[in-house]
Structure formats: C-alpha cells, structure tokens
C-alpha cells in the first residue's frame, strides 16, 4: 500500500483549466472519493494519478516518491474504468491473468493466483466464459478481480458502477465496502453521485471548477458543508439569507442569527469556520425542518404556506414558502409525518443546533 500526495496539481488543455491547483493527501489504506459535477476536473485528476496525462504543474507522489513522468505501466496501479474495459477477445481467466503475465507469472502460480482472485469476487466457476457471456454485475466483478490481481499499491475507480441499475449498484457498493475493509488498499474513487460517495468513503473531496472546495468525512460534508455549492450538491439544502450577529452569547459558542424577513432570531452553534458577523446564509438540512401546527408565535418559529406534499418512498417531502419569501424543504419518515395539505398555513421550527452558517 502507498499513500498518495497531490501537491498543487494543475492541468491545462490549451486555454481551458481542467484542474486548478489541487492538493490532497490520501493515507495508506484510506478510501477517498473525488465528488463533483461532470466537468469539474475529478476524472482529469484521477487520470493524472494513473499517469495517462501529465500535470501542467505541481507534484504527485506515491509515498515519498514523485511519479511525474512515470508511464502508467510502471506505476503498479489497479484501475476499474467507467466502461469496465474488459478485453472482449479474452476469457475471464485471460483478462485477470493479463497483468500477471506481464509480470512474468506463469504456470501453476498464474493459475492459482487468477483462481484466488476469481474466488474473491465469487466468480470461481466462470473462468472460461467470455465477457459477453456475463451479466453486468459479473462483468463488474471481473473488472475488480483484474485490477486487484496484480497486487497494486493503489486502486483507482472511475465511476465503475455507472452502467448498473440502481439495485445492483447498491449491492456492488456494499461488496466494494467489504472488499476494502478486508484488503485495506489505498483507493481513490471518482463519482458524481453523493450517495455512492457517502456509502464508500472514509473521506470525500468535493471538487468544483477544478478546485477542491472541501475535504472531510461524509458526515462533515453532508452536515457541515464548507460552501453553498457543496450544501446544494451533496443533498437538498435549505439556505436562508441571514444577518449574523455575534451577540453577547458568542462566548458560549453560539452565534445569534436573524433570518431576514422572517422575524425570527436563532442561536446557532459555532464550529469554528463560520463567516464573520455580517451578511450570510443559514444552512439546514430538510430533516431538521419541523412542521408544528400547534406552535405559538414565540419568535422562534417561521410562518409558511405548504406548496407541495410529495411521497418519495422512505420519506414524505413537504415544500414550503415562508412569509419572508424563502423556499424550504422538510422531510419526514413517512409514518411520522404531520397531516398537512397544500395551501395550508403552518408553523415551522428549525432545529438550530443542526444548522450552520455559510457566506
């Protein structure tokens, strides 16, 4: 296993800047996701780690050694591609054996190591099938077996589940998580799907416009996003324009926040990276927006009109428009949902201890 260090890595294609000074450390055995919208530079970053393209600036190191200029075939990386890229003219066995044969593994040892890999992904009986005789999930596993067969120091995954339907995709995610817990191989995973990143990652690096906007645990990124972009990208975000007043309470670790146009003042806990007093936004996830039909007008509850009630499976989603003209989304576990209907006026409480402040 190796650690990976990206130091101010940049990539320009002509005038276009694809990656704009990315610095990131991936520890030995860690699973880090690069999460961002399409075209944000996450795949370009991965391809620079793989060695398919050279950075225009900056340094990439595996452990302490710079790999800039080292061709991909000398980096000892396992990689699973978006298209899987199984060699269609080779059997499952030959696909998995490809990298081993290039490392001069032959005969009994080759057969044994290929078989061990196929057993690992539960395809032991499929060695002599051709790729087009396999199901989507089986092909996926062959791709992982092929990548892992060479005992790579690093595993790179480029949206490997993109081609699968949702159910199979979730199964594969669980399997990958188990595999990683067992092998503890340093892994960089590229995805635009935040749920996928949450399930799999130790840490997530959110990338936008070629820059990392935040690196943190899935929990951090979801509940304590560093920017409004992240708040919005990794889930449904309620963002309310607010005036941040560090009142007398600031010393007890809380900021006083006035929601504009709502006549509501809240105490929001400080986590240390809040914007300074002034104009900003209050951010809160829909699961902490509470509908309360009976609430009194006590200066802490907002008044809003229900604009839509929508059942989305495991949750009931309510859309609201507040008196101050803000739009809110509130979600509940289906069974606990208060009975409200479109057009109804309701009181809304924000669970302020789960809120945070953004510029």
């Amino acid at each position: 296993m190796s650690s990976i260090t990206l130091q101010a890595v940049a990539k320009r294609f002509g005038d276009a800047v694809a990656v704009d000074g990315v610095s990131l450390e991936v520890a030995q055995g860690e699973f880090v996701s690069l999460l961002g919208p399409s075209g944000c530079g996450k795949t370009t970053t991965l391809r620079m780690i793989a060695g398919f393209i050279a950075p225009s600036a900056g340094d990439i190191r595996f452990d302490t050694q710079s790999v800039v200029g080292l061709p991909p075939y000398r980096r000892n990386i396992g990689m699973v591609f978006q298209s899987l890229a199984l060699f269609p003219h080779m059997s499952v066995f030959d696909n998995v054996a490809y990298g081993l044969r290039l490392r001069r593994v032959t005969g009994g040892e080759l057969a044994e190591r290929v078989q061990r890999m196929l057993d690992l992904v539960q395809l032991g009986a499929f060695a002599w099938r051709m790729p087009d005789e396999l199901s989507g999930g089986q092909r996926q596993r062959v791709a992982f077996a092929r990548a892992l067969a060479i005992d790579p120091k690093i595993l790179l995954l480029d949206e490997p589940f993109a081609a699968l339907d949702r159910k199979l995709r979730e199964e594969m995610q669980v399997e990958l998580r188990r595999l990683h817990e067992r092998l503890r191989i340093t892994t960089v995973f590229v995805t635009h799907d935040q749920r996928e990143a949450f399930t799999l990652s130790d840490r997530i690096a959110v990338i936008n416009h070629g820059r990392i906007e935040q690196v943190g645990t899935p929990f951090d990124v979801y509940y304590r996003p560093a920017t409004r972009f992240i708040a919005d990208f990794v889930g449904v975000a309620n963002l309310l324009p607010a005036r941040i007043e560090s009142g007398p309470q600031a010393s007890d670790g809380q900021a006083t926040v006035v929601l504009k146009g709502e006549g509501v003042t809240l105490q929001v806990p400080l986590a240390g990276r809040e914007p300074p007093p002034g104009e900003g936004y209050l951010f809160i996830r829909p699961e902490f927006v509470l509908l309360d039909a009976q609430a009194q007008d006590d200066g802490a509850a907002l008044t809003a009109t229900v604009t839509l009630v929508r059942f989305v499976g495991e949750q009931l989603e309510t859309r609201l428009e507040t008196r101050g003209g803000n739009r809110l989304v509130a979600t509940y576990q289906g069974a606990e949902a208060p009975a409200v209907e479109t057009g109804q006026s309701v009181r809304v409480r924000l669970a302020a201890r789960h809120a945070s402040l953004l510029t």
């Binding site: 793989a50 060695g51 398919f52 061709p71 991909p72 075939y73 000398r74 980096r75 000892n76 990386i77 396992g78 990689m79 591609f81 978006q82 298209s83 890229a85 199984l86 060699f87 269609p88 003219h89 490809y98 990298g99 290039l102 490392r103 092929r146 060479i150 790179l156």
Partner: protein, 286 residues
C-alpha cells in the same frame, strides 16, 4: 423504437421490390449474360459472335498461358493487399490516436482526396515518375544507388507501387472506423496493467481490429484483381493480369465470347476461395 409499424403491408412489399430490382438489374442479369456469352461462338473478321454453343472459349481460357496469368493475378493482388495492410495499419493507428482533431481531419481528408484524381491520371503520373529522365530514376542515380538513371516503368516495381498507392486509401478507410470506434479505455486498461504502448498495440489493438483488417484486405484484393489500368500503364506484358487480357480480348480483338469465358474462369478462381474463407471465419467465430 418500434419497427415494422411504419406502413401498411402492401407498401412494405412494394418498397422491398426496389432492392430486389437493383440486385437483379445490376448483378444477376449481367452475370447471367456473361455466362451465356461465354458459350457463344466468336466470328472472326468483325462479325463479333454467333449464338451457337461451343466449349472452345473455355478450352482456350484454360490453356497454360492464361492459367499462368490467372495465378499471377491472384498472388500479385494478394501481395498488393498485404502491402496496403502493412502500411495502413500503423498509419491508421497513428492518425486515430492524434490528439488534435483538426490534424486528424486534414490527414484523412488528404488521404481520401487522392481518390479524386482518376486512376488513369494517377497511373500516368507514376509512369512519369518512374521513367528514366525524371523523378525516381534520377534520384536513385544522385543517391548513388545506381550508376546511371534507370527506367523503372514499365516493370514489376512500378506496377506494385502503383497498385499499393491507388488502393492504400481503401485500406485506411476500412481500418479507420474500427480503430476510431475502439473504446480507448481498453488500451488504457492494458497500460495500467503493465503493458507498454507497443505491447498494447499487439495484444489489444491488432486482435480487436482483425475483422476490419480482413474486410479491408478482401476489398483491396478484389479491386486489384479487377483493375486493368495500372498493369496496362505501369506494367510490361509480364505484369499483365487477367483483367488486362479480358480487355484485350474484348476491346482489341472484338472477341466477346472469349473475354466472357476468361471473366467466368477468373470469377470462379477468385470467388470460390473467398467464399470458403468467409465460411471458415464464420464457423470459427461460433
């Protein structure tokens, strides 16, 4: 999308008559008349032919001289296809792997645009280049390869170069689509697993473009068999293929029945092995 639902039955049947008619008019009828004419009797002295059955045309077409020319036609065309293949595979590989789209388009455009000048013009162009007083002969003499400028046309080398030059674009076109459509991640997968570019080329790119290489080769082979312009312009009688002999029989000796018999013999000699090859390749894919 639903298919077969775009019109009433009678309309579909009527439209089907179009490809049927084209096939009949353009392929079956000429082939049939060719076979019929090959059994007619030639009338010497400008009378062309008589509708009287004879084996004489085939007896002559199967004489050792003509069989030898047929053998030459086959191996010379195969050699042309092989040379085109060997030149076009790396050429197309490099062009399809160019980063610059503009450059790729320019190169492909220039390659295809050579087809714009007719074969006759290009063949005469080469005959000038290969002559003693200009171009290649002088160049070789200046480089010291030959003592004095030599003439290479008409001759074997001139004919072979001319053929390869004329049919090279056809081979490139056959390969281009296959190499262009190949998933680039396949080559990347090979390289990340430890294969150099060269190894990747031989283990991944070549096997996956095998079918296009076969198609292109058959294509060029058949075009070479059928050409009479290049051997006629750039070759001496030793490089004449059966197509030249057919042209001579029909155009210069007005002997349509004999020309037809030669054509039928050539079609069988070339077609039977090709069909066998196609059948063999199909079976192996199963």
């Amino acid at each position: 999308m639903q298919t077969g639902n775009w019109g009433p039955g009678w309309l579909r049947r009527t439209l089907l008559a179009y490809p049927g008619a084209m096939l009949g008019v353009l392929f079956l009828l000429p082939l049939l008349s060719l076979v019929v004419f090959s059994f007619y009797t030639h009338v010497s002295g400008g009378g062309l032919y008589q509708a009287r059955f004879t084996w004489a045309n085939y007896a002559k077409a199967l004489e050792p001289f003509y069989l030898l020319r047929l053998w030459f036609t086959v191996w010379f065309s195969a050699l042309t296809a092989a040379i085109c293949l060997v030149l076009a595979v790396p050429f197309t590989y490099v062009v399809t792997h160019l980063r610059s789209r503009a450059l790729r388009r320019w190169i492909m455009g220039l390659t295809v645009s050579t087809l714009w000048l007719t074969t006759v013009v290009r063949a005469f162009g080469w005959s000038v280049l290969f002559s003693r007083t200009s171009g290649i002969g002088k160049l070789f003499a200046v480089l010291g390869l030959t003592a004095v400028p030599q003439s290479y046309a008409p001759g074997f080398m001139a004919t072979l170069v001319g053929m390869a030059y004329i049919y090279f674009p056809f081979m490139v076109l056959s390969l281009f689509a296959a190499m262009r459509e190949m998933n680039p991640e396949l080559e990347e997968a090979s390289m990340i697993l430890g294969a150099t570019r060269a190894r990747t080329f031989f283990h991944i790119v070549l096997p996956l473009t095998r079918r296009a290489m076969a198609t292109g080769s058959v294509f060029v082979f058949l075009l070479s068999v059928g050409t009479f312009i290049i051997p006629d312009v750039l070759g001496s009688p030793a490089q004449w293929n059966t197509s030249v002999l057919i042209t001579n029989a029909v155009a210069y000796n007005s002997n349509i029945p004999f020309g037809s018999a030669l054509a039928v013999v050539m079609a069988v000699a070339v077609g039977v092995p090709l069909l066998a090859m196609a059948w063999f390749m199909r079976r192996r894919r199963r």
